[in-house]
């Protein structure tokens, strides 16, 4: 379990690339992307999530499980 401000809980990649496989993220919290946030300023948030469970995460704004975003959310 992890809680941070902008970004994510356990896994965060400000601009990628990020690769997650056979993982689990549970009960994390963040403003954007409760478990996983990828992006910020690039046009293409480079990341892969494969065979991963994202459960009971929370976001103070957008994307409780995951937020891929090219620019900061308005």
């Amino acid at each position: 379990m992890s809680t941070v401000g902008l970004g994510s809980g356990v896994a965060s990649a400000s601009n990628g690339p990020l690769a997650l496989a056979y993982d689990g993220f549970e009960v994390n919290g963040g403003r954007f992307g409760g478990a996983v946030f990828v992006g910020n300023s690039l046009a293409n948030a480079a990341a892969t999530i494969d065979h991963t469970a994202l459960i009971e995460n929370s976001a103070g704004s957008v994307g409780a499980g995951c937020t891929p975003a090219a620019t900061r959310w308005p």
Binding site: I49, A64, A70, T71
Partner: protein, 238 residues
Amino acid sequence: MTVTDSSFSLNSGLVAGGGIGQFNTPLSILQTSMTSNTAPMAGGLSISAGPCPAHGGYVLVRDTTIGGNTATGGQGGRVDNNALSEFINVTIKDNTGGVYNSGAGPVMFAANTVLDNPGRLNGDGDGTLPQYHGGNFSDDSSCSLKSNGDADRAGLDPKLRPLSMDPTDYTWYYLPLTVSLLIDTAFATRSPRDQRGAADPQQMRHWRGGVWLAVPATLGGVHPALRSTAPLPNLKEV
């Protein structure tokens, strides 16, 4: 970003995108489930681009289940779309509505997608209609389905089993009953395998939605409906 064979469950957002909240970046969601997530808008999936829908990345959702998600606030939403997106073989069921579509121009395309959200609008938004490429199914007429093989009628029942979990990759899905109207009625745009990775028994056609019927090995074959070589029925005429 690509999400494959993954499960988003019981997540909650305070603004939008209980499961996934995308903004202005290409995204592919394949063989994945978003279930029982919550947010004021877009309980399951939020797709957005700015300053207009064409400025964001292309979003593909394929062989995926979006079920039992809740939008707790004003703009109802299970899938909120304001970007260029395509849904193929997707089941959107038992959410607090189907798709909330908005933005200038045709921003969403759908094929072989099942919308079954009883008591809620399957098609909602600012009046911008998705483009339908055939084989879609809705249990109300709010989507204005008009393509070949589309079926939309109040009270139409896709006859899906309760939500089940795939023990191999932990994604959730609704399996069709053997009497389901979805069987053997998928249209031209189809997937070679379903959400669980099961291959199309005929390699020719299969059903709509994220998952097709499991065939017990003891039967040594496939459901009779799958053996049909008859032309695809247009359920609007049934």
